[in-house]
Every structure is written in C-alpha cells, then in structure tokens.
C-alpha cells in the first residue's frame, strides 16, 4: 500500500528510510567511535597527545608553546564536544516531534508500519491484530515503540552534552599531564604512549573490541605519524 505519508514508498521501504533517518539523528561526527563522556575523554586525550608530540618534534625547546596549545585544545575540545552533543540532541528531539505528529495525524499509516514490523518478526493473523491494537492503545507506549523499532533509536542512553564535554576536558588535562611528565623526566614519547595506551584500551573496552589489536594499531599509528614528521623535518 502506498500513500503520501510513505512518500510513494512501500511500507517496508518507508521503514528502511526511517531507520536510516534514526541512525543519522543519533550519529555524532566526533572523531570518536562512541558518544559518551569516557569516549570523549579518550578521544580528546589522544588528539592532545598527538598534537603535543608533533610540537615537541617541531619545536623541541618551546615549552611555553606546548602548554599554550594544550590550553587552547582544552577550551576547544570542551566547547566542540558540547556543541556536537547539543547538535545531536536537537536532531533527536526533532525526530521525536515528527514521530509524535505522525502518531496523532496518521494513525492508519502508523498501524500499517507496526503491522509490517511485527509481521517481519513472525506474527500473523488475529494475533498480529491484537498485538497492534494493544500497542496502538497508548500513545506514549506507541511513541516509545516507534522510536525504538521503526527508527532504531535507544532512549535514555546518551550523556548530557555538558557531561560529555567535561569528559573531553578531563581527557586533555590527563594527556597534557602525562606529556609533561614524560617531557621533563624521560622523553615526550613516553607520555604520549601512555596516553594512547589508556585511551585505546578504554575505547576498546567500551566497544567490546579486541584490546591488544586496538592498542597496537593506535600506538603504531602514532609512531608512524611522529616518524614521518620527524624525518621530513630532518630533510
């Protein structure tokens, strides 16, 4: 069945498009693998560590510059992380408003969407009708279901943008402190490696990825970047 609500698509095509819309609304182009304050902290720490390491290669004795740049990164990372978080929240809130409008004004189409979703899960006939009737009975519950099932969005899982930005700030501070420790005691490489190790392991744990692989890849990438810049400088 096709209608204006489905914009000329079939119910299943419409559901696919809705999933894509939900994924877009929830995404955050943050440079990190997952949203959240721990992830933001790990991401900011890695960026700070790499920038400071490159500065120590290019300007090995300009200590003041290192800390000024770290200060700048601190403010930038906090602000940027919060802005990205708020942008995501705005998109998600818009999606929820649109879905509510559809529930209130296009009930028959919402019923068809629900039927298609639950048919795909194996329900048919009278049972399907009864399930749909129960779901349609409560608009609050229906909105919840449509957000999760149709759009693929999860409720109550995101951190407040400020909490996330707080994490980013802490990440910059940790990276700067480790860099400073390495710089003044052994070598800037030690501090950077420590930061990369902590950040990579944290993210791998959050994502349940293989930790050893993640750690080695991250350290290798930093070594590669630092090596290229060092040798180009020596040209």
């Amino acid at each position: 069945m096709k209608s204006d609500h489905f914009e000329g698509k079939s119910v299943l095509e419409h559901l696919k498009a809705a999933r894509a819309k939900g994924a877009l609304a929830a995404a955050e182009i943050h440079g990190s693998e997952m949203p959240g304050y721990l992830s933001a902290a790990a991401d900011a720490a890695r960026d700070t560590a790499v920038v400071l390491l490159l500065l120590s290669i290019l300007l090995p004795h300009e200590t003041t510059i290192f800390f000024l740049v770290a200060g700048g990164l601190f403010l930038w990372k906090i602000g940027r992380s919060a802005l990205l978080g708020w942008a995501r929240l705005e998109r998600l809130h818009r999606v929820i408003e649109e879905e509510r409008w559809e529930i209130e004004h296009a009930r028959q189409q919402e019923r068809e969407e629900l039927a298609a979703l639950y048919q795909a899960k194996g329900l048919t006939g009278k049972l399907l009708d009864e399930v749909i009737t129960v779901m349609m009975a409560d608009d609050n519950r229906l909105l919840h279901i449509m957000l999760e099932e149709e759009m693929g969005l999860a409720l109550e899982v995101y951190e407040h943008p400020l909490k996330q930005s707080f994490g980013a700030g802490v990440g910059v501070i940790i990276a700067t402190a480790l860099f400073a420790g390495g710089y003044f005691i052994f070598s800037p490489m030690i501090g950077t490696a420590l930061t990369i190790t902590i950040a990579a392991l944290t993210v791998a744990k959050l994502e349940r990825n293989r930790r050893i692989e993640a750690l080695i890849w991250n350290l290798s990438l930093v070594a590669f970047v630092a090596g290229v810049i060092y040798f180009i400088k020596e040209l």
Binding site: M136, D138, L155
Partner: protein, 645 residues
C-alpha cells in the same frame, strides 16, 4: 522494573533537555538552570577580569573574552533572530551597545551589560518554564486508555483518541473516569471535588452523566461514551486554561512595545549623529573627537542598563521577601498586577473553608427515642469501614465526643447507596443502615424531606436520624476579609456548591456578593465579567477554579490543599495555605509598585542626563559611563529596600 518514560512532560516543557527522553536520567541534571548558571559563571569571570585589570591587562582581556563568549553568544543569536524577523527591540540595542563598546575600548562595561542582560533573560525563562507545566497535571489526571467492552463482552484497552461516541467502556472502583459518558450499568459514588468543588461524593447510577477526570470510588460502572477525548470535560478545561492565559492582559507586552520603539529610536539617532555631527558641525568622522565616536558614546550611554535592571531587581527583592513569608508569585509582574486589583473573588471549598467536612449536628426525625450517643456510635462504627469524606467526618465526630466505636457484623457496602450491618454493644445488637436519602427511604419506607445542607441518614430499629455536615472555616478568614474591606476592596464568593450552603458561609465571613452553583465554565464567565469591570484577584484551589485562576488579573491558589492544576494555572501560590497573608501581600504589592516607579524615573533620568553631555562632548566618555553605571547601582540599592519583611 522501571517505569516507562512518559513523553508528556517533555512536550509540555517544550522539549526541555532536563527531561529529554534520550539523555540518561543521571545526566539530565547537567542541563538544569543552565542559562542561569551560565550567566552567573560569566558574572564570576567578569569579576575576575575586573580585579585583574588593575594588574595585568592581557589576563583581564582573556577573561573578558570568556565573558563575551558565554554571555555574548546567546545575546548575539537572539539579536540576529530578531533582526531577521524585522524586529528591532531592546535585545538588539543591548547586544549592539555591548559589542560596539568593544570598538570604543569600553569592553568591561559592555561585558557587564551582557552579563546582567543574560541573567535577567535566564530568570525570565525559568518563570516561563514553570507556567508551561500548567496543563501537564491535567494530562496526568486524564487516563490515556479506556477499557472497552467488545462485541462478545471481550475487554481490551484502547487509546482514548480512537474511541468513538457510543462505545461502551468499563470503569472499575478506584479508577479515573476516562471519557464523558452516561452510565448504562452499575452504581457507584463518584468524587467530583476536582471538577466541581463539591466535597460530598456524588452517587451515580443508570442514566446519570459522568465526566472525564472524576474518580470512581466504590462500584463498577459501564459507561456509554457521549463525548470523544478531544471534547471531554478535562480537555475542555485544558482549552479554557490556555485561552484564559492567552487572554490575560500583560504588562510585559507594553514593555516590549516600549522597548521596540526605544531601541529603534536610539539606533536611528546614533546613526544620524554619526553622520550629522561631521556634516553640520565640522567634526571629523573618526578619532576621539569624531562623530562616530560620539555617536557610539551616545549609544552606550543610552543603553537601558538601569532601565532593564529597574524591574527585575525590584521584583526579585519583593519575591524574596514573599518567599520568606510562604508566598510564591510566578514572576514579579504578578505583584504589580495585585496592586491594581480592586476586587477579590474567593472560591469557597478549600479556600475560605478547609475542604474537610465536619459533622455539626444530629437530629432524630422519627421512630422510638434512641440515645443520640448510641446513634453516633452506630454510625461511626459503620463508617469506620468506608473511605468517603463523610466517613472521616463521622468517625472524627465520634472521637471528639469520646464515643467508642463498636464491632460490626454482616457489614455490606452498597456502592453509590450507603452501608449496612449489625452493630453489637455489650447489651444489645443494632441492625442499621446508613447512607443517602433515597437509600434510606427505600429501606425504611419512611418519606424523608430533602435536606437543605449536606446530610446522611441512619435508620436503626425503627429510629431515623439525620447527621448534618459542613465545611470547616479556615482560622482568621473573617479577620482577613474585614481587613481587606478596609482597603475598599470588593469581596465576592464564587462556588460550585449549593446557594444555601454558600450563603451561610458568606454570611459568617461578611461577604455580601455570592455566586453559587457555578460550573468551571460559569466561574470563568463570571471572572471574565468581573475582570472587565475592574482588575480582579481570584483565590481558589480546585481544578474547577483553574480556568478562572488563569483568566483573573491575578490567580492565587493554596499550595497544600490545592490541586496541582489550580496551583499551575495560578499566578501566586500560598505555600502554607495561610489566607491571612492576603492583606500583607496587598501591601507588599503596593510598595513594589511604588519602588518600581521610582526606579524607572531614576533610570530614565540618568539616561537623559548622561546621553546629552556624551553626545555634545562636554563630559568625557568615562564620566558618562560612570553616570550610567551609577544609575544602575542606585536602582539596585533602591530595590533592596523591598527585601524587608
């Protein structure tokens, strides 16, 4: 198991992030009072910048940059929105003045302007958020689904929006009636206190109309729906509240209009001076003696810092004083409105009275004489097993008379009718029935005259008793009315109760004008009529008062006893239900208005005094700035006088 997220609050608060469904419950608190916290933090940074300006200019400027970022960015966004809507108002002028002050080297003053401006806007939005929730409590009261009776008697839940007129729904004891309808089966007592103000539960049986939002107390009712959800009583009340809030006269509207003209005029004048001074008086365009410099100085001197502070500081001080007394006005503007009112309209139940029933007397109507003490003991013993307001009043009556309740056998509660059982004492046993007039008439076969006040009947061993009930008057209410009358205020009572009961209460309190038997829409119509004659304060507590509270010039509700809807729809809340504070509030409102006028005169005076010399170049810029800021300080100090209790 956790409660499912309810989207109602999210939409009622216009998608506030503090209730966002996507944020974790723990992290939502990060967004609480964000604009106020941001403005206060900007203020703290400004103070640091000011202190550092005596030691290190770069350090001071670094902090000022942060102030401009925190307080300036939101102001800039708002100003751009206003300009894109072809609206030149005080917001635009303030933002322009603050940012142009950087150009002429007065960045500290510009930052101060921005911080104060943001703080005032943040507080305004906090008040607005509170009022936005007014309809939320009504939505909570209204169920989302109804239990529909299908063709084969099969019961299933259905969304109210999908239920058509004529559908049969089942409402069990303890549930809220979801839709307006007519009873087609069953009998029950229905609690209408939030809809009509009536304390006494109303019996409903086949053929009776029942309204959405009423509580079904003790029986199961089958109802044929007569109105769809969009048309139900609760929804009509929601619409009435919204309409009344929109129709309310607002002083802010005047200030906005004034601000728009003021801002446009000042900007146009500054532009004209920048061009005209060099053209007609031979001044250079640029440099410290140039036309552009003087025009900017004029713009900053004319920026209405003191003018903008004049109102919020006076209101904040007055509000703080009120809060210490247990009065919570939703915005200082309400105090201003109170001072203009010449009529006070009171709801009866819950406002002038406590809303709790008291048994005042009993009388034997017929049958063999029976000791009244025994009658009270029997009635209290039966009512001990019930939950009505009347049951509470009767058991309390027995307690005050120190009459002990007795054991009851064969107790039966007949929903919507009354109670029956056998009460046993050490010497005898009494088969008794207790309840409403029709029930007793049917059981006793004795014709009973209708009572002109709240009553319940007891029939025991051929003896017939009637117990009378009344609302309990609040203490000090009579004195409050007398004090208010001394200020030449007109006193009116508006109630959903019967005329006879209302007049009796009004007589006791010295209120001459009484309007009784009013439904919510009648109350709203009466308040609208009275408000047209003169500004009106409405004092109430029930949901039925909510539209009238919203429509009145000022609505005052009782915080403890008041329904959440009435509290939300009102402008001022008496947190401790202490109606004796009405006189104090009236005086404080007049004092606030007086100080507000002084502030406005002072602020305008300073602007006039500072702008002209700045323009003519008679006074150096720093002196103009000091005059301007001095006016601001004076306005603030004058406002602090309102803090006194």
């Amino acid at each position: 198991m956790t409660t499912p997220y309810s989207f109602d609050e999210f939409f009622a608060t216009n998608k506030e992030e503090t209730v966002s469904p996507f944020l974790t419950p723990d992290s939502r608190k990060w967004g609480k009072y964000l604009s106020v916290r941001s403005a206060l933090f900007a203020g703290f940074l400004l103070a640091l910048a000011f202190v550092l300006s005596f030691y290190s200019t770069p350090a001071s400027l670094a902090f000022l940059t942060a102030v401009y970022f925190l307080a300036g960015t939101p102001a800039l966004i708002n100003a751009i929105h206003d300009i894109s809507n072809f609206e030149i108002n005080i917001d635009v002028l303030m933002t322009l003045a603050a940012f142009l002050s950087v150009v002429i080297g007065s960045e500290m003053e510009g930052a101060l302007l921005l911080v104060l401006f943001e703080l005032s806007a943040a507080m305004e939005s906090m008040v607005e958020q509170k009022t936005r929730s007014s309809v939320l409590s009504l939505h909570k009261l209204s169920p989302r689904v109804a239990c529909v009776i299908g063709e084969n008697g099969f019961l299933y839940e259905k969304a109210l929006a999908d239920i058509a007129v004529g559908t049969h729904i089942l409402v069990k004891a303890g549930e809220i009636i979801p839709l307006d309808g007519q009873v087609i089966e069953g009998r029950s007592y229905v609690n209408l206190v939030h809809l009509t103000g009536e304390s006494q539960p109303s019996p409903k049986t086949i053929g009776d109309e029942v309204h959405a939002g009423a509580g079904n107390l003790d029986g199961t009712l089958t109802i044929s729906v007569t109105r769809t959800s969009g048309d139900s009583t609760v929804n009509r009340i929601i619409k009435l509240i919204t309409q009344a809030q929109d129709a309310k006269p607002k002083i802010e509207q005047f200030l906005d209009r004034f601000g728009k003209y003021y801002a446009s005029t000042i900007i146009l004048l500054s532009l004209s001076f920048a061009l005209a001074l060099p053209a007609f008086w031979g001044l250079p365009y640029f440099g410290t003696e140039g036309g552009v410099y003087r025009a900017l100085a004029f713009l900053i001197a004319a920026s209405p810092c003191a003018l903008i502070l004049a109102t919020p500081t006076a209101y904040l001080s007055a509000l703080s004083s009120c809060a210490r007394r247990g009065i919570l006005p939703k915005g200082g503007i309400m105090l201003d409105a109170v001072s203009t009112c010449t009529t006070v309209a009171f709801d009866k139940t819950g406002t002038l009275t406590t809303g709790k029933l008291t048994c005042t007397a009993l009388e034997q109507l017929s049958g063999p004489p029976l000791d009244p003490t025994v009658a009270i003991a029997i009635a209290a013993s039966l009512e001990r097993h019930a939950v009505h307001p009347i049951a509470e009043a009767l058991t309390a009556f027995a307690e005050t008379k120190k009459i002990q309740v007795l054991p009851v056998e064969n107790f039966r509660s007949i929903a919507g009718y009354g109670l029956e059982g056998t009460v046993s004492s050490s010497t005898s046993s009494y088969p008794a029935i207790l309840g409403q007039r029709e029930f007793i008439q049917e059981k006793s076969h004795v014709a009973l005259p209708p009572a002109d006040q709240m009553a319940t009947y007891l029939f025991v061993k051929g003896s017939l008793f009637v117990f009378y009930f009344t609302d309990t008057l609040r203490t000090n209410t009579k004195k409050v009315i007398a004090d208010l009358k001394k200020n030449n205020l007109r006193m009116v009572m508006l109630t959903g109760d019967h005329a006879s009961i209302a007049k009796e209460v009004a007589k006791k309190l010295g209120i001459e004008e009484v309007f009784a038997d009013l439904r919510p829409e009648d109350k709203l119509a009466k308040v609208t009529e009275l408000s047209t004659e003169a500004p009106l304060v409405m004092v109430g507590d029930g949901i039925n008062d909510a539209p009238a509270l919203a429509r009145a010039t000022v609505g005052i509700s009782m915080g403890k006893i008041g329904s959440a809807t009435a509290v939300d729809a009102s402008d001022i809340i008496f947190i401790h239900d202490d109606i004796s504070l009405l006189g104090w509030l009236y005086k404080k409102a007049h004092q606030t208005r007086r100080i507000l006028k002084e502030n406005l005169a002072l602020a305008l005076g300073v602007i006039l005094f500072a702008t002209t010399p700045a323009l003519l170049g008679w006074v150096p810029l720093w002196a103009a700035v000091i005059l301007h800021e001095g006016g601001t300080v004076l306005v603030g100090l004058n406002s602090l006088r309102l803090l006194k209790k």
